[in-house]
Amino acid sequence: MSSNAITVPAVQIQDRPWVDKLHQWVTTTDHKRLGILYIASALLFLVLGGVEALIIRVQLMHAHNDLVSPQVFNRMFTMHGTTMIFFVAMPILFGFANYLVPLMIGARDMAFPRLNAFSFWLSFFGALLLYFSFLGGSGLYGAGNAPDIGWWAYAPLAARAFSPGHSSDYWTLAVLASGFGSIGTAINIIATIVSLRCPGMTLGRMPLLAWLNLVMAGMVLLAISPLSAAQIMLLVDRYLGGHFFDTQAGGSAVLWMHFFWIFGHPEVYVLIIPCFAFMSEIIPVFSRKPIFGYPVMVGATVAIAFVSMSVWAHHMFTVGMSSYANSFFTITTMAVGVPTGIKIFNWIGTMWGGRIQLKTPMLFSIGFLFQFLIAGLTGIMLASSPFDWQLSLSYFVVAHFHYVIVGGILFALFGAFYYWYPKMTGRMLSESLGKWHFWLFFIGFHLTFDVMHIPGILGMPRRIYTYEPSRGWDTLNLIITIGAFIQAIAILVFVANLVISYFKGATAGNDPWDAWTLEWSTSSPPPAYNFASIPVVASRRPLWDLKHPEDPDSRYE
């Protein structure tokens, strides 16, 4: 560490007119500002997607409810899924990657700042396009508004014969635009990590967060490309007389499924790997120990990325593949469980023998570990293809993937918010509101998604807008809905915490958590240039070396 003697000047807050400030934000190419833009826009769409989820839940609260028509219900679950995956989860994780990767590898910005801004705005305008469909989706036909083809847009439901008007086109173009944005960001992350690491930071000394985002970015390139190709093929089908997926002219519905899921399954890992990255930074700091088995953690991530490229057809066990194909995708899917299990064990190994501080980021991390364990185990059940023939397309599967996405990804994200918000704003988030947020969300989550497994076992398929009173699904659905509202209240607490702490939170200082990676060596928030002088590192935990000159990590690595 050569920069320890240099004091970083505090950021000058200039009082400019708001139009100037807005202009600065809109035209910015600063990775930190773009990161915050990604996160802020994702939070906006999180609220919209959440409202859609609540409409779904109120409609299903009891049998034969008629709050919304079937058409509106179908739009709600289509918009909910599309929004949450493409316009909440991906952007928010890209936002954190954008903000953190350059800081953690000691760089002054991303490798391609203008590509970075371009990627963000592509994705943001993609989201606007999707939501514009509520106004403009009907087209000439008058077939209603907003896409209603499900977030997989299975053929031939997305063909013009079954989806007239323009609502599906808004879906296609929105996903295509955000896909190009994602590819741009992925290229940028890879280039940044490969070429902008500070002196001394070999690949073996890189923080795990950077490693995992590197792997994630590689997966984005491999997964988003077939999705974008498929979207273009769908547009060709719809407007240029193509027949790729047009079953009425001999096209193949199954071909679309393969295209979609060869994106769709790696996508799950694209979302969860950055969350593994948050865990791999937060758990060590709050256990006061280095990550257990760093090389194995990197190896397991690469293994997950590799194996998860060949598991996609476990989404298609009911499609009628041969018994050999079903067996193949069973074993690949189960095999992903091995490196994933190694990660869980290594996190527990990190906590083992530590001095665990149960602050809010750590609470969310423990919640993540607990829920991700269960999600993984229900995943093993679904990987066993005959079991999947019963569970697939039922509420069990809905419960399973919400366990991954809410119980895993969202909990990890909340942990990341509480951990890095002080760095981004210079203020601490309130611990007491944070604990309210955690416990309310934890209770709401388990009320909703634990119970949701049961109607699936009792034969309730997903994506139905109502059900018969005689099926005995009423009470379970009511409990699920109550849990959803408790989660919504927890989100309000979280938003209140973000806003109140921004103005009234305790001052954070450079390093509020006594942490070890480079982002904590600069001021909070960091200046536009990040580091007054480029740091030099000698180990994986440069700030540990600085704080413990008598026992530096560099002696052991």
Binding site: A63, P70, Q71, N74, D148, Y154, L157, F162, T247, Q248, G250, S252, A253, S287, K289, F292, G293, T318, V319, G320, S323, N326, S327, T330, I331, M334, V338, I342, F345, G349, M351, W352, G354, R355, Q357, L358, F370, L373, I374, L377, S384, F387, Q390, L391, S392, L393, I457, L458, G459, P461, R463, I464, T466, P469, S470, R471, G472, W473, T475, D553
Partner: protein, 350 residues
């Protein structure tokens, strides 16, 4: 040893089944209508039964993994919490351990191998089962939003309510399905008889069931197929050999020609009805909608969305969206006299 394991498994499976049954009953008692629940852990046919056996095996293994890992996690959270006394001091810095990490790589690999072998066996038993010559063949065609059932060897066409014979293990009469779709993707799911299989246009699929007891089994379309995916319900009536024989006999007859309903028949054939519906033995031979030759032999209309009563039939013909909004059956906009006539014609189609 093997015997012990299988009897343990049976006990566990029964415990799990009772648990779910209890849940179902409890869920039902709070509702106020008579219950007809389904449960994947209450199988009545070989494919569903093999799945339950495999499921219990998977549940036991995942359950053990859960208990072990959860215990480790809970122990480390409780045991290694920071205490007031150790402020400022850092714990021993441990970087990893090759032996331990090797152990928690190899053990999961072994578990995966075992799970895979158990799974592959069941995949093969269910999917590659040969079709015996005594099997009943049914072609199921998924439509937006109803089911067409054709029995090519028996010359029967019906809709939404499937009749199949019970299969006696001594003289098995399983039913083998060919699954087709007329429009979008659907999925055939009767949880207590078998896992689901999709009906996909241009992609014929196959599945089979051999019900072990008579009765009505409920299911519904499981693959999102459009606006009324929710009301694409499915009833399977498993009949005794004798009842099935009688049902086949009656279904093979052409429609009853009842002179008292001649007016209604004229309305039916003079309107768009016959473009979509078939009534065997009359000029009506449309195939877009359900075959109505023996409409009154069915307990429900609109793919199970309503009971087959006089008032529901009348409402369905006049305003289908009152029962099933988004259904492709158009509102026929008949005057009252024509409507009554058509309904009485329908009621003669036994």
């Amino acid at each position: 040893m093997r015997r012990m394991t299988s009897s343990t498994l049976r006990i566990v499976s029964q415990v799990i089944f009772l648990l779910w049954a209890a849940t179902a009953v409890w869920a039902g008692e709070l509702g106020n209508s008579p219950l007809h629940t389904t449960n994947i852990f209450a199988p009545s046919s070989t494919p569903a039964k093999s799945i339950v056996e495999l499921s219990v095996f998977v549940l036991v293994i995942t359950g053990v993994i859960f208990v072990v890992v959860f215990a480790l996690l809970a122990y480390s959270v409780v045991k290694f919490r920071a205490r007031a006394g150790d402020a400022g001091r850092e714990p021993a810095q441990v970087y990893g351990s090759t032996q331990i990490e090797l152990a928690w790589t190899i053990i999961p690999i072994l578990i995966v191998v075992v799970l895979f072998l158990a799974t592959a066996r069941v995949i093969h038993t269910i999917q590659d089962a040969p079709q015996p010559p005594t099997a009943i063949e049914v072609t199921a065609v998924g439509h937006q939003y109803w089911w067409e059932f054709r029995y090519p060897n028996l010359g029967i066409v019906t809709a939404n309510e499937l009749h199949i014979p019970v299969s006696d293990p001594a003289h098995p009469t399983p039913t083998f399905f060919k699954l087709l779709s007329a429009d979008t993707d659907h999925s055939f799911w009767v949880p207590e008889l078998a896992g689901k299989t999709d009906l996909i246009p241009n992609h014929p699929n196959r599945m089979w069931v051999d019900p072990h007891k008579t009765g009505v089994f409920l299911g519904q379309c499981a693959q999102y197929c459009g606006a009324q995916h929710a009301k694409m319900l499915l009833r399977v009536s498993v009949d005794s050999a004798k009842d099935f024989e009688a049902w086949v006999q009656s279904q093979q007859q052409p429609a009853i020609q009842d002179e008292r309903a001649a007016v209604g028949r004229r309305v039916f054939e003079g309107n768009a009805c016959m473009n979509c519906h078939t009534v065997a033995g009359t000029p009506a031979n449309g195939r877009f909608g359900p075959d109505l030759t023996h409409l009154m032999s069915r307990g429900t209309i609109a793919a199970g969305a309503a009971e087959n009563t006089h008032n529901n039939l009348r409402l369905w013909i006049q305003d289908p969206s009152a029962i099933k909004p988004g259904s492709l059956m158009p509102a026929m906009k008949l005057n009252d006299a024509d409507l009554d006539a058509v309904v009485s014609y329908m009621e003669t189609l036994r």
